[in-house]
Amino acid sequence: MGEAIRDDHGSAPFRVVIVGGGTAGWMSAAGIRRQLRTEDYAVTLIESDEIGTVGVGEATLPHIKLFNDMLGVDEAQFMRETRATFKLGIQFCNWNQPGDSYIHPFGAFGEPWGGVEFQHHFFRAVQAGRQSFSLQDYSYSVVAARSNAFEFPNEDRKSIRSTYSYAYHFDAGLYAAFLRSWAIERGVHRIEGQVCDVSRHPTTGDLTELTLKSGERIAGDLFIDCSGFRSLLLGKIMGVAWQDWTHWLPCDRALAVPCKRIGALTPYTRATARRAGWTWRIPLQHRTGNGYVFSSQFINDGEARDALLAVLDGAAQGEPRLLRFSPGRRDRAWQGNCVAIGLASGFLEPLESTAIYLIQAAVIDLLRLMPRPGSSADPRLAAEFNRLNDMQYERVRDFLVLHYTSNSRIGEPLWDYVRSMPLPDSLEHKLQLFRSRAALPNHQYGLFARDSWLSVLVGQGIVPTGYDRLADAFTLSTLEEKLIEFRNRIQTNVDAMSAHGAFIADYAQAAEAAASEEAVA
């Protein structure tokens, strides 16, 4: 086999310094600690208890399970500790017009027949007047979500019960805390403190050392900026410019407040369009997270607060907290030896629960492209990281803008504006393709998949005028039979599922949530 493979020793560990201990900071720390050797990489995380995190409840995408699995986290334990519930999708209410409702599921619509995507068969039947169900009825996860049901997906790829995946709702503050203890147990050095000064290399401009309020100085080779909106290192020190996307996504504030949990535990997030934005409802085990994302151009903070409090399921737990933000991203997330992850690199409103996904994607890319011990940050690695990061942000942005721009809420100033605003070319093109022939974007990388686009395009009231003519290969009566059979298959299988609340109680109920459950009863 040739001579033995030796490991590289000799260079001192590469020092990674993370600034900020929210979800981004601890996901970065945990990812590095899980994937990279302690003798090669030393990880220090600086966080301050004085700087709060939002922590009212956060909705995720199914990718989070891959991250947790990578860490080797026990799902039930993680769910207990973060008060998590399962999430099969997002319900959008009133987005096209008041009274409307649709679910964007983490799952497929129908199945391809004759090598032709389902939506072409569906719209063919609609156009022929042979369709009595809505598109939503052809998604297993939509039907399950509407029934408040949950089961784990089946691993048999032929089963209809394999056609979906799931994510979680959890308390993001508790998730960060969960990852913090996971990472500290495995050698991440946590320092309580606030950065007050930053030293840079006189010629390269790279960051060299942080000084904390306590006077402690922390030197590093690579600095990960997880400082949130403040973008302490990448924005303030490295001076990487901000790209503002307010003209496409006008919402710039959010009010967040948890409330008492009432009623059945829904396995989906709800996003309800309002006069000046939208409200979220995120069911956790022990309470329900709520918030109003709004545009300060169209409503003031007080009116928004009243509107939010008026739509809660149960009693508010405290006064709503205000967050200010601007949508957009930094021109580059990685500059010199500074990489921003999370809100420090960009912000997109939580409409499609993409915040943690974007963190995760950045962490995974950084792990692949991390400078090696003994080397300095390589601009070639940064270029690849930035290319991937840009792609992720732009694809998510287009998908978010779609929810706004296609609406029939005529006469409401925010909604009138977004309906008529000029769109990014990349989105305009996708809309035209769907309108004319029910064609869906087909990317190999990044979010979102075809079925996601389909759910929102149709949900926002867009009706294609044509469909792929390859669908004509079936006779209409054969098509009708197939559609009915598929519908029946969904219903029969969903009927056999557990209630989501009962499933959680059985699988991953936190002790205190169980207690409050009794109190509710």
């Binding site: 001579e3 005028t465 469909y467």
Partner: protein
């Protein structure tokens, strides 16, 4: 549902495999949607020395057209090709095999390539290609018939080497069974609408053939999109030195290698495409450096055989500015002329057809489809071009031709890809790629590019695990290869059984 007329009358003008593959594809897919197809066939340009070498995805495309592999192989004198063996004349660069299959299997969830790279840095002396089941089987003259164990190990795939005349004839004979209106033409003129789109084609000055959509499958002549609609070509000359190829026929091998062999010559390269009937020879060179006579001499030497049916052709790599203009869609050589390296022509045609079908107009109003087709085809063609450019830009072969090739411009996405690979052993993922990460790794590594680092997460894996997994992989490959039939034996049985 719509005020526009459904699009139902399609005219394909072309010749040879471009024409008949297009006719088969459109007719099969859209006959049931009521699309009427007229095929206008121009005189052939094929010679008995032409061999079509294909990429793996053609097999699945054929399957959609109900083309049976056994009858195809029999009809075309075809053989299987598991990849390209690059043989250098320079002693500095070892041979390498670019196979249509996976190189190694992941180790503890990590990609194989960086594991191999790290081990090599620490003294492992086993070539990358020796971990590729497909490559080893091919170099031992074997077939590779996938089973559960090989699928668990990794992808194995193949292309074909077919006599092009026979292939075109075979496709034509199938088209004849599909109810397509087939017209032979010596010459075609074009009748235009006031808005510039094509109204009809006039065949041999008399027969008028109307259509709503016209497909230009006339190859580099680009009779419709170029000669008539005058859509310009953007030259890719800055990237490629090859401007001429010699095509010829060498005798059939007594034992038919299941791969193509590309031999670097001082002033170009020479490819052998063996099949059951003959061995196709392509010699690519630059007319500024080699005369045709010198190329013939070089091709004869590189082929190690006397060449017959020798012909010479110009090569002008370029992309049509818009491959769909008005109501005319260009597929194959009329849309994009690619360099001859890596045998991509039929695949480029296939991509054009696949996307034409997936964007086939619903009605006569098809501006959206046209925009999308132009966007996506350019993207696909450019990624193929990048893979081709990489071969020339990174070559270390001796000779003026190779020096010139190295000195040429490198497209930006490729320079990014090379930089990422050099820095981190990573293949930057891009949309619309024809070639897999395995192919890129095989090419880069084969050309002697050694990354400066690997992803640090593989350092968690102990050296003993590497050794264990390498040994296991090599033993698996050895065992599997011995189980396989020989290529010759497999061809014999395939042709015998399907003849019966």
């Amino acid at each position: 549902m719509t005020a526009h007329q459904p699009l139902s009358r399609v005219v394909v003008l072309g010749r040879d495999a471009d024409l008949w593959l297009c006719v088969n594809a459109v007719s099969r897919a859209l006959n049931s949607a009521g699309v009427q197809l007229v095929a206008i066939e121009l005189p052939t340009r094929l010679k008995p020395s032409h061999v079509s070498a294909t990429l793996p995805p053609l097999e699945a495309f054929h399957a959609k057209l109900d083309i049976k592999e056994s009858s195809l192989i029999r009809a075309t004198g075809g053989s299987f090709s598991f990849g390209h063996n690059f043989v250098a004349i320079s002693a500095r660069t070892p041979n390498f095999f670019h196979a249509w299959g996976a190189y190694g299997a992941p180790i503890d969830g990590s990609a194989f390539f960086p594991c191999w790279l790290k081990a090599t840095r620490h003294g492992l002396n086993i070539a990358f290609q020796n971990f590729c089941l497909t490559a080893v089987a091919a170099q031992n003259g074997r077939m590779l018939l996938p089973d559960d164990a090989t699928s668990a190990f990794g992808r194995t795939d193949y292309g074909y080497h077919m006599q092009t005349m026979a292939y075109a004839g075979y496709l034509k004979s199938i088209a004849a069974t599909l109810g397509v209106n087939m017209i032979e033409a010596q010459h075609v003129s074009v009748e235009r609408e006031d808005n510039g789109s094509i109204a009809a084609l006039i065949v041999d000055g008399s027969l008028r053939v109307e259509g709503q959509l016209f497909v230009d499958a006339t190859g580099e002549d680009a009779v419709l999109i170029g000669q008539s609609l005058a859509v310009p070509c953007e030259s890719w000359r800055q990237y490629f030195s090859v401007d001429r190829v010699l095509i010829a026929r060498a005798p059939v091998f007594t034992s038919i290698p299941p791969f193509a062999e590309i031999r670097a010559a001082p002033n170009g390269w020479n490819a052998l495409h063996p099949n059951q009937v003959a061995t196709g020879v392509v010699h690519a060179y630059s007319s500024g450096i080699s005369s045709d006579a010198a190329a013939l001499e070089s091709a004869t030497a590189a082929s190690g055989a006397k060449l017959a049916d020798v012909s010479y052709h110009s090569v002008n790599p370029s992309i049509r500015s818009r491959v769909w203009e008005g109501n005319c869609v260009a597929v194959g050589g009329s849309a994009c002329v690619l360099d001859p390296i890596h045998d991509v022509d039929l695949h480029a045609l296939q991509l054009g057809l696949v996307h034409l079908l997936s964007l086939f107009p619903v009605t006569e109003q098809f501006t959206v489809e046209r925009a999308e087709y132009n966007r996506i085809m350019r993207s696909y063609y450019e990624r193929i071009r990048d893979f081709q450019c990489a071969f020339y830009a990174l070559s270390s072969f001796d000779g003026e031709f190779w020096q010139q090739s190295r000195d040429r411009t490198v497209p930006q996405p490729l320079s990014h890809k090379i930089a990422t690979f050099r820095a981190r052993a990573d293949i930057a993922p891009m949309e619309d790629e024809t070639f897999s990460p395995d192919s890129w790794q095989a090419l880069f590594t084969g050309l002697g590019v050694v990354p400066e680092s690997w992803p640090p997460n593989i350092d968690r894996i102990s050296p003993n695990r590497f050794n264990e997994e390498f040994r296991r992989a090599l033993e698996f490959i050895k065992g599997k290869v011995l189980e396989q039939p020989t290529h010759d034996g497999y061809l014999d049985s395939l042709c015998r059984s399907s003849a019966g």
